[in-house]
Amino acid sequence: MRIDGAGLINRNKPVTFSFDGRSYQGFEGDTLASALLANGVRLMGRSFKYHRPRGVFTAGSEEPNALMTVGRGAAQTPNVRATVQEIYEGLEARSQNRWPSLSADLLSVNDLLSPFLGAGFYYKTFMWPRSFWEKLYEPVIRRAAGLGALSGAPDTARYDRAYAFCDLLVVGSGPSGLMAALTAARAGADVILCEEDSAFGGRLNSEAEEIDGAPARDWVQAVLAELDSLPNVRLMKRTTVTGAYDQGTYGALQRVALHMADPGDRPLETFWHIAAKACVLAAGALERPIAFPMNDRPGVMMASALRSYLHRFNVAPGKRVAVFGNNDGARQTAEDLRAAGVEVAALVDSRPEAELPVGFNAFKGAQVIHTKGYMGLKSITVSTGSREEVIEADCLAVSGGWNPTLHLTCHMGARPVWDETLAAFLPAEKSVPGMIPAGAAKGIFSTAGCLADGQRAAKEALKALGLKAKASDLPAASDAPYSVAPLWQVPGKGRAWLDFQNDVTVKDVKQAAQENFRSVEHMKRYTTQGMATDQGKNSNVGALAVLADATGRGIPETGTTTFRPPFAPVSIAAMGAGARGKGFAPERFTTSHAANIARGAPMIEAGLWYRPSYFPRPGDAGWQEACNREVGFVRNAVGVCDVSTLGKIDIQGPDAAAFLDFVYCNTFSTLKEGRVRYGLMLREDGHVMDDGTCARLGETHYLMTTTTAAAGQVMKHLEFVSQALRPELDVSFTSVTEHWAQFAVAGPKSRALLDSLLDAPVDESAFPFMGCGAVTVAGVPARLFRISFSGEHAYEIAVPARYGAALYGDLVARAEVLGGGAYGMEALNVLRIEKGFITHAEIHGRTTAFDIGMGRMVSARKDCIGKAASRREGLSGPEREQLVGLRPVLPEGRLPAGAHLFSENRPPTRENSEGYVTSTCFSPSLGHEIALGFLKNGPLRRGEVVKLVDHLRGVETLCTVCDPVFIDPDGGRMRG
């Protein structure tokens, strides 16, 4: 219930929210957990395995129990820590992992079965009968497991990512972090201060501490005011530094609007990349529990969490509170409770020599050995060894000592080091380059010590940055020493939990050791200890101690605990922000895009580009009809197609020819100016990389064309060859793909079309087949190439892209007048298959020049990329599958791409597969399907009938092996 006090809640701003359908009121500044506690709610969740009732256990992101689902519909967010979620007006929270309700959960039957469900039980059973695993056991297990549920609806909220840079990143804003930030900021360093909480100050917000004789919070406010006033400081609250990566890169997740009822255009979360020259890790420490029997009742919580609720939120989590600890935190908690007017049922300190204040029902050298209260704590049993006493209490605060929050120091593989005095792991030296742990994160637990260490760490960082700290005094604060007597487990009747969420008990760890899972990694994996949503923040050290005990080793010999990113879970939406829908990759549009859309063309992806599939017309029976029509345009009249997506690389320099001779397997130094040649490029491993035409525009000037898909790869390859393999060649290249809009004008009437368009008619002598040169269109300088990918008399014309849209419209209009029109990718594909021209369907990465019948293009007279490797015996010869044409024996026969080829009388098995189909189409010119494919020793098997089998689509057909050129094999149309 709420008590008086000056916490960080705003009592003038009441906030109404709901939990499991019931409406409650809290105040601005409350978390869901503090507001529920204030309303007397203790039961907040169910455990993962045994579905045990659980209450809130901590006051931070490490909370293992009070996980809830917040929001509805697409906004439904599972596994929200009630201890982190700030309440806002109208917030709807629901409990999870229970059915039908939190208080009556049928699966709590698991708890009764727990003797049979111990560590690793599932590895030993559910094996018979075999088919029952997928059908019965697994579905039941899956339904019982899991925590909250995703809504199943697309996450339509806004998220973003951002970059930040600084000299010094300070992680955490307790006394060490604030002092470090202040020291560095005053010295002029560029500082970013990240605080996971919604308020800066760390533990100072949760303790009755004083600094310089005033409440510590006053000091916090003064420091913040100064930091806020400095231009070289960036304050980031609600920001969890989630990971430390190489060269001073840090990931951080900022909860921008998760605490708002209406985020507007704000992102819910921003994932930050922070590049920091230095980092002070002032992340504090986490209090750890003690594994005593039945320590998981709702109402049992960490003592530090209780003090947070008391001081920061002005909430007493119980009416009669007991305290149990192995360090002075217990006494402090009892005193704070008393000061707040809360009844202290008992103060139990495990240390026989502990000095306990008077006026409490105090037990020295005692332990809590049992508790009662299934749905909420009712009593505890205290044992002094000689006597036992049952004490009524509805809340028990536990302190087992502190573990430095050193997680980030482990992210680069360093292992923390055990400290016997503190009974805790400390960060290893130089664990992350540039990171300096400070304060509680390195085992300094007094306020004065933290202030001093924060300043020390900042000075160390400043020195590395070449900056000088200004002299300043340290504020005065408590320097109470920290003494702890390790207490990991309390023996007794009943289970003692280590990992609360995953229901891992002391017994489970002992059983793992008994089964020889003695390595800490084995124990973790076998018991699932530390694999819950807190990733062992609460329990790893305790479990390690239990394992050490069970295996008769010390803690350091048993192993260390380590942590991987992220420090706290990160939503996929935040880390993948911007990629939803089309945001995954840039979209590239040609200048003809709008015109193609206007003509109703379905657009398909070609790499990052969009190209028209076909151009439907009213009355078409389907895409095939449109495709056939467009093929007809090109074969009989003239067709127009935007080919701007092909890569165009401008290559210039005195050594341009020599360079091209090296990157192409055929020769380009012999190409005449004003002429174009087909070129084949190999990878250094001897297989085909890409193909395309290359035009010689001048003596030292070439224009290379790549396929759409490989443009980027080829550019990178050319840069590599030029910079790394042939640095002596004076050549440079630049992509001009974007500058030119280029259109194919193909078909017997292409010349007529161009003659009507160009400022001067096409000069046959300047533009023979494979000729190129400059022309003008309406006064605009353009380039004309007499090349063909259709087998027809054809050209490609290129203009600066600003004129692309206009030219395309003009070309299509003129083509239509001539009985032709625009053609799309479907028709383009048919046209090229009919001619046996290859694309990446054929040069799919595993084919050699030999395979596609171009072995002789690999010039014997010069070196080139891939030549040496292509001479390996396995890359040519009759065992290779080589390019062939295929036509069905029966005209209606289908030749689906992806089918395999077999000798006619062999069954279709792997051993018998002799090839496969790569490209197929219905040839309107021939009236049946045709295909390209690869067949073992194919070129020598022309005329042979082979069996084509496509199991997937139920096709088995006979086809005749033929030349891959189906139409106009001598190329008369192209050249004429």
């Binding site: 993962f48 967010t77 599972p78 596994n79 003797p115 590895y123 030993k124 059973t125 559910f126 075999r130 695993w133 697994e138 497991a145 899991g146 549920a149 995703l150 809504s151 199943g152 697309p154 996450d155 909220a157 890169t249 593989g413 059983q511 089964e515 020889n516 390595s519 990694e521 084995h522 994996r525 990733q535 991987r564 939503s571 996929i572 939406a573 993948g576 922000a577 990629a579 089309k582 995954f584 990759a585 992806e605 491993d685 369907a841 990465g845 595993r846 390996r872 015996e873 396995g874 065992e879 992806g898 279709p908 098995t909 792997r910 018998n912 496969y916 490209s919 496509d950 199991h951 997937l952």
Partner: protein, 417 residues
């Protein structure tokens, strides 16, 4: 002790005090018939099958850390036989058949779950390539179904079909594909090998390989010299270092591959889904965590951890493919060290040194190979001849160019991946 429901019941009623060690922790003997360097999945499976299939039980598995601590314990647990090229086809088919009997064979529930795998494709060309692969799977005797877009929608209604950057054209469905509990595979093989007399020696790093007159005679370790008639190097990402002890340079580069798991969630994904255009694959574990990964980080590394750009790319792929995943939170990420071979396929072969065997090059696909790899490697060690399902995993294929298995078509040379 034989594991069964009855045993679990009996032990439950008697306080679980009777469970014995899964495996012994023996001291290394002075000599063995076979030493296996590497106590990961492949090494343990090799030892198991040597004992079970060939009766060779005087075997030691030497592991520098703890068994199963390498890639078998840090992967995305996918089991499949959906390869397209000869060599891989028969091997993974063989491996999947072993998986299908593994629980009964090992008396250990490795939770092999044949929940199906869907490889999505995003263009007509990719469909043709998937069809070719699917037909190869059926040629091999395995299962494949070509789904169209609506077929995929029926199984995965939550994908983005309207606005995704690379639309779903369909998928290749492999019903016998699925997942398994990765650690359990290592432990099951370890327990099985141990019960057949194999010595599993943990915390024992091999520091040298003894070779006399072209023949291997034993190894030097941090726990002393151990003699052996035969030695198998089964060291995955560390293969380069181990082979160097035998004076060999391998066609292997070690790369980092990250994987991720979310917090536990109620069941929302019943199959394994792969998104080729996004280099993304995902499944949901029995505990409810979404387990997913992407492509390599693309730099040589032994650090077993990755960096942010690749991690973010993976999350981006998740968001464009299945935007319902947005509010799932990544709980943990990890990195494995992948032994990348030039063509992306493994090497299981003898070496130029008598008695020295090599098993490496598993790239990012080693987990599903564990039973198969152990089985055929044991065969090779025991008989000196390659198993029929692994005749093409030759070390000399890169030199000769014969039988390269570049499934992805990205090149059969390291820097082309």
């Amino acid at each position: 002790m034989r594991f069964s429901a009855w045993q679990v019941l009996k032990e439950g009623l008697t306080g679980n005090r009777g469970w014995g060690a899964h495996w012994r922790d023996p001291e290394p003997k002075p000599a063995y018939d076979v030493i296996i360097i590497g106590g990961g999945g492949h090494g343990l499976a090799t030892a198991y099958y040597l004992a079970k299939e060939h009766g060779i039980t005087n075997v030691a598995v030497l592991e520098k850390g703890y068994i199963g601590g390498g890639n078998v314990g840090r992967n995305t647990t996918i089991v499949r036989a959906n390869y397209g090229l000869p060599g891989n086809s028969e091997f993974y088919s063989h491996s999947l058949k072993l998986w299908e009997g593994l629980e009964a064979d090992l008396n250990y529930n490795v939770m092999h779950s044949q929940r199906g795998i869907i490889n999505l494709f995003h263009s007509d060309g990719a469909r043709d390539a998937a069809a070719r692969r699917g037909n190869a799977m059926i040629n091999q005797g395995d299962d494949a179904v070509l789904l169209d877009r609506e077929g995929v929608r029926a199984m995965l209604p939550f994908l983005d079909y309207d606005n995704i950057r690379f639309p779903v054209y369909g998928g290749l469905y492999h019903a016998r594909g699925g997942t398994a509990r990765h650690d359990a595979v290592a432990w099951g093989f370890a327990r099985g090998a141990d019960r057949r007399g194999v010595d599993l020696i943990q915390n024992c790093e091999v520091t040298g390989i003894d070779i006399e007159q072209g023949r291997v005679t034993g190894v030097q370790t941090t726990r002393g010299a151990i003699k052996a008639k035969k030695v198998a190097m089964v060291a995955a990402g560390r293969s380069g270092q181990v082979a160097a002890m035998a004076g060999m340079r391998l066609p292997i580069e070690s790369h980092i591959l990250q994987a991720f798991v979310t917090e536990g969630l109620k069941p929302c994904l019943d199959t394994v889904v792969t998104f080729g255009m996004g280099h993304f694959y995902i499944s949901q574990s029995d505990k409810g965590g979404l387990v997913f990964g992407g492509d390599l980080d693309f730099y040589a590394s032994y650090a077993a951890r990755g960096n942010l750009p690749q991690a973010e790319h993976v999350m981006e792929a998740a968001m464009t493919l299945m935007p319902m995943i947005g509010k799932a939170r990544v709980l943990r990420s990890w990195g494995g060290i992948m032994d990348m071979s030039p063509d992306g396929s493994p090497i299981i072969d003898t070496t130029h040194i008598d008695g020295l065997f090599l098993n490496c090059g598993w790239c990012y696909g080693g987990f599903k190979a564990v039973p198969g790899s152990g089985h055929v490697t044991a065969h090779l060690i025991a008989t000196g001849r390659p198993h029929a399902a692994a005749t093409k995993y030759r070390l000399d294929r890169f030199a000769t160019g014969i039988g390269l298995m570049d499934e992805e078509g990205t090149g059969s040379q390291h820097n082309l991946h």
